[in-house]
Subunit: 342 residues, 4 copies
């Protein structure tokens, strides 16, 4: 039984961490912080947790975080980089669900995120928490940068091809659709129900913060830079990411077999049979990524479909998976949820 | 470990039973039948169950149902009444999620359901599976009539008042809103997405089949007939029932305390603090009923709000709760799901 | 051709006024104000108006409002009461879509709206703009208080019964469901897509600001106070209000005929055939109210169903209808929209 | 005033034709047929048309179609090809909203649609009704093949580039998202609300019937075959198509200017300013196509975004636009609808 703290528990990744950790047999929730809601019972803010989570939010300065074995940051970008160092010094392991430690090139990070990095030294220490790539490093990591939701769906869909070197790496396309919870719980006009329902739009076509993260992951697998056009879209659903990816074939392969081999033994990646069309609801509320591969009209363009729940495999679930790996638990502990369908 | 069979597993109550039973530590799924889909792997029809349920649908006549300890009927109305008798004779206990055994007055049942009852003798044997009322009888029941979704939400909201005899029993009003999954998985025009989305309507105002079921339950609690106006509405959401109930006060009480006393110790009924407004999503995918009581402007009309997930506490979850009681398991076994929010 | 100004055009009632007025053959849009968006082209904020509305938002102090024939206030509560007087003095007629002039009892208004009224003298002058009740007064009104959305649906559904004196006036019940656009375009957490979608809840059961407005309208029709329990609900749809109303019969009538007589000749009220269930989408984007009357099981409780589009008959459409009456145009001018279904 | 008939009026394109034609100042609805609903008042099936359309559905054999000036087929594929010939012989002009006359290569059509063509001779006579390409031919057409919804959005987005010859024609990608009404009003499981809501999926990746139609249109513009990967997706919204298209630049151009020139003067195509992100709701219920062009990171891949309402510019609105052209009316007659937002 390990002691767990959460910094910033009032957003969607926070409440999802609570849903997962509250039933985790090896984790004990010790503290959850919120500057604005200190003193409020967690279950008063999220009635779904009545009878499940007995804690109240506490002020960050009063929270017994240094006594925890692991602390999750479910905060906006720019918070963990200020607070992680002192926790790490106290021997606490840290998993950041925001973007602070995801990009190894600090200058690049500062450009995309529009702020000066407060802990550039820690960036090199951080392990990018995509278990399907970095399982060994995660095991020993003190600081894990939990991947973004778009990057998780996109990298899992493209990595087998990139690693195999059988596609044109200069012209990858990822057309990705996200549910509205991906925008967080902050009150903003464009994510109001009456704005986002019964509507569909692209956004950030000129450049989205997840682009450098995806490129970094693919480049590392390729051993060289990659060219990627990444177009995110806002979809009128609560949870779910659907990535539709297009790659030009440069060398023939049994692509279905390639994916099946790559993910054999992966507990949370499901390569579906040929000609499948994964639906986002088939992973709703679960930590699974489902992938299908198509080759329309036997042409030279592959289409890869990849779906995840953005709040689970795209955030809190993957963070718990990382925690399981870091502490030597079975990787699936506390993550046996069956997707909720319908 | 008990052996479990499901008759009719291709509808929403069927797939929800599978979601719950697949992770139930005391139940082993032995057979799931479907005349139309015999031979199809369950996980091919419901990809959410890939890696979770390994069974294929089998033809009812080939299914080893008689070897099961309990068989659930997740069939349309009129099927269980034809098949339950032979299973009961074979010593199998039966839980019917349809309406065949819910109404004790067979003539009344035949009027509302438009068919002749095939097993009128069994009706008297059947126990109405609302644990908060009939827990003791359920324990020994061979045949359980699992309540309807509207009747569950409505009875749990009105029973404390009816039992206490402090309201006008002749003019109860239940204005109830249901998600579209309540209409089942059968292809029909009025439940198409393009018909039911971004739309709201009442239906069946002249008379809905759940009316006699609710009246029977309330009358039994009252010891006399009750007058109830019941108006169901189709709501553009997948899951959830929200019952808004109105009752005229005839004797003063501490109504909040009355509800808290009535449901003290009930693991699946949550009486919220005064002035609360339960949301359907606060019970999404969980077996909980949340209730709040209001007395607007301190007048003589009480307003009771009651929410459930129609597929869980309103169907499959309550059925598993009944199974737990029937077989002496802890009543919460396999039902510890934290509601999925957002 | 009359000259029209709009104060506060960045909310939903503002953009809906623009949709309707842009094609109105007798109205010419002269100015639309917004303090925060002064200088922004209207069509840049609302791309649906590209090629339709050429105006830019202008600062209120620069707007040629005093040169208009009529000015609509599509502002939050508390603005029109500060600015109406000077416009009226300049001979401009005013239609307020907010609540400032709806309640004749100023003390009551101040209690529910939590502010001191800035123009109590004008309240007595204002005409409540429900044409089906006050058509004659509206014709000559200088200042029209456009009704709220809930009050429009509810009053139109109950007025025939209240006027006829055939129901128990002390125990009326209005269970009303609103689309999320009713909460406005202001960024707030509880109306985010990820909060309001796939969810249903009541709110304000203890007391909602539309309660005194509805009671005032019904009391005026009754000639005495009325008792009303009013429960609003937030429904996961963009537009639409569905009011389900319950009334105890005190004198027999042909209720269907009563409604048909009451609304004969009304261009925007459609009394549907007996046993109908009006859907909100059947009036989507149109100025119609559809009503159906039921008497379940021939008991003593009537059920009235009433639907409107909250932004049209519940706000901007009714405001244009009032404008048509005030300026002697055919009442339907510019309001011939066929509802958008599906 | 021309006399208009509609064959097959119970689907979504049928009811949308009725919405548009009922207010068309030059068209008089004479007959609307439905084998299954003969005798039913149109407004009983579609209450949105109460007070707007007075006709009843009539049996096809009794309908005075031969007396009409134009007949619209809003039928499933395979009907118009059987009935158009006799109407054309009677001098009636025909607009088919289904696919019967869209593909000039009859063998290709038969392969994709799985039936033998009943009127192969008429195919060559038919004019493909995309006014932005074929306006002149439409003017004199006796038989118009109204384009599909996906093909309209996709062709309008790619044509300027294809015609200019500045992109790689062998590797075009169209990732297209459609609202559920695109699947029609037929009762099918996969388009039920509880299946399609809060969910997103691709379908038909191996090959969709609209692929040959799009390829034909682009090839005609290019003067040579084109290579296109087309992936349709089912999106949880009622109306709307959003096409995201990717093209490799082969010759530099001012692409924004290219689009603006190409569509200058087009009443129903709106080229938005650079960096825009058109939303489907910005064209909801209107006949407009909005397009934006992006060149992410100034690379060699163009991204074109194109949105339409699938039932208007993608079906009934475009059909009325074609009718206007055929009969010499102003092309915008009866199509001045302002999009409904929110």
């Amino acid at each position: 039984m390990i002691k767990v703290g959460i910094v910033g528990g009032t957003g969607y990744t926070g409440v999802e961490l609570l849903r997962l950790l509250a039933r985790h047999p090896e984790a004990e929730l010790r503290a959850i912080t919120s500057r604005g809601e200190a003193g409020t019972a967690v279950a008063d803010m999220f009635p779904s947790l009545r009878g499940v989570v007995g804690l109240a939010f506490c002020d960050p300065k009063d929270a017994p975080l240094a006594e925890c074995d692991v602390v999750f940051f479910a905060t906006p970008n720019g918070i963990a980089m200020q607070q992680a160092a002192s926790l790490l010094e106290a021997g606490v392991r840290v998993i950041d669900l925001a973007a602070d430690f995801r990009i190894r090139n600090v200058a690049e990070w500062e450009k995309w995120y529009g702020m000066t990095h407060a802990s550039p030294d820690l960036v090199a220490d951080a392990v990018y928490g995509l278990p399907e790539v970095n399982r060994t490093e995660i095991r020993h990591a003190r600081l894990v940068a939990n991947p973004g939701c778009y990057p998780t769906a996109t990298q899992l869909g493209l990595l087998p091809l990139v690693e195999a070197g059988c596609i044109d790496l200069n012209h990858l396309i990822a057309d990705v659709k996200s549910g509205v919870s991906g925008a967080g719980r902050k009150a903003e006009t464009h994510t109001l129900f009456a704005e986002a329902a019964d509507n569909f739009k692209a956004y950030g076509v000129s450049g989205h913060r997840h682009l450098p993260e995806i490129r970094q992951g693919l480049a590392r697998a390729a051993g060289s830079d990659v060219g990627l056009t990444f177009v995110p879209h806002l979809t009128p659903m609560i949870r779910g990411i659907h990535a539709t990816m297009y790659a030009r074939i440069t060398r023939e392969e049994d692509f279905q077999a390639l994916f099946e081999r790559r993910y054999a033994g992966e507990p949370f990646v499901d390569v579906m049979p040929p000609k499948s069309h994964p639906e986002t609801r088939s992973v709703r509320a679960a930590n699974t990524c489902r992938i299908a591969i198509h080759r329309p009209q036997d042409g030279d363009t592959l289409v890869v479909l990849s779906v995840i729940d953005n709040l689970v495999k795209g955030a809190a679930g993957q963070a718990v998976q990382n925690m399981n790996i870091m502490f030597g638990f079975d990787e699936c502990t506390g993550l046996f949820h069956v997707p909720v369908l319908p």
